[in-house]
Symmetry: C2
Subunit: 226 residues, 2 copies
DNA sequence: CGGATGCTTCGACTACGATCGAAGTATGAA
DNA sequence: TTCATACTTCGATCGTAGTCGAAGCATCCG
């Protein structure tokens, strides 16, 4: 009828509270089963199953069968970016679903955004890499410089493996708490994995919060100065 | 209940086809009356009125009374950016509402994105300014350099006026057709206005298409080389 | 092979919201 | 003042989508 892409379909998928809760839960980056997602959304398994089918048909989720479990996850980085952008706007309107509690500051400090680090620390990470000219910015796109490649290889990240995947290595993602960009893409994912593997940070159970240890925090701040 | 902003409310607002049509129409940047928006959405005035009240309550729209007309517009740049991001995802899924016609290439070449230039030409504009070091990129944020300020003042844009407004002067906006960034913010708006004032380009009626004249196209391409 | 777990499908109920006609309010024109 | 236009509010109708119980598959375990 009118020109342009159909945003109503996507909007209505996100618009149902149960589905929105599931999507929010999946923003933590881990693949979850219908049973788990039903608990997150506060609905029965049957209803959850129907919602998940719709989300999958709409291209927001992908499904992986493993034994008698089915694991659902956001289908691609793009979905996470879009959701974070919605959250940014919702947060700016003061539309928060939760009573602000002790978790809130932790969430703003460091949290998982689909598969990479967001919050204060996520923003700092990108800023630091850009300041050190290890990442160059060109609009929405980021590019790893030669110095940047050396740097991440020194950290123990396999640059070749990142390159092989079809996803962009670097990518910006708008942070809803900081309202600035942080680092997404396969490099963002690899770095978060690195921090956790090194024992610098741990993910809190059933939450997006990333909790740094004292030692990890010190190492992170030294490694990525402003 | 759960942590994080409430995206369901925003989603459900966008999720209704009638409302989505109105929002899409308002992406053209002009403020429209309920009667006009009702026509765009294919509903009666009464229904439109109810939808508009909801969109305003949700913070997506603002309203300006002028005589016996009421003009609705997107409430801020942020809303346009969010919608464009949704369109990007919808387009990547092939969810387009329109039959691809002769208008489509024109739309991809140059169109209005709320209040600034998008499409191929919009992307080129930002790229050119960045290449000339008149804009510097730092994550999501853009900064006008001294050279950039001189440049836009030479073009006849009042830098002081841009500065006075509380909105950011430069800003990136993800382009759904090009899937790259173009220039938003008050400078983006001022530049589009400039192109139209100079007679280089005209906006097509009831459409987001921006049509450049031969002379205007030549001038634009010379002024903003890659 | 049972029996248990995880999930989907079916069917029926329910509630919410979109829709429009009719009536009410505001602004402008004659 | 009177009429017309632009819009909102009210009220009633109607559809659709979310919800869950019950039943049906699939997978794993002993």
């Amino acid at each position: 009828m009118k020109e342009g892409p159909d945003i109503a379909l996507i909007g209505s998928l996100i618009g149902d509270p149960a589905r929105a809760n599931m999507l929010t839960a999946l923003m933590a980056g881990q693949a979850l089963t219908p049973t788990e997602l039903a608990a997150h959304a506060g609905i029965t398994l049957q209803t959850a199953s129907s919602h998940l089918a719709k989300l999958e048909a709409g291209g927001l989720l992908t499904q992986r069968k493993q034994g008698r479990h089915r694991y659902y996850a956001l289908s691609e980085d793009e979905v996470g970016l879009m959701l974070e952008s919605l959250m940014g706007f919702a947060a700016s309107r003061g539309l928060t679903r939760h009573r602000p509690g002790p978790k809130d500051p932790a969430l703003r400090k460091a949290r998982v955004c689909y598969n990479h680090l967001a919050g204060d620390y996520g923003v700092r990470l990108l800023d630091s890499l850009v300041a050190a000219r290890q990442i160059e910015v060109a609009g929405e796109d980021l590019a790893l410089t030669d110095a940047g490649r050396d740097r991440i290889e020194a950290l123990g990240i396999d640059y070749g493996a990142l390159r092989k995947s079809r996803r962009p290595i670097c990518r910006t993602c708008l942070d809803w708490s900081e309202r600035r960009s942080h680092l997404a893409g396969s490099l963002g994912e690899a770095l978060l994995t690195l921090f956790i593997d090194k024992g610098w940070a741990k993910r809190e159970r059933d939450s997006r919060v990333v909790r740094f240890s004292d030692r990890g925090e010190k190492a992170f701040l030294e490694l990525f100065p402003l």
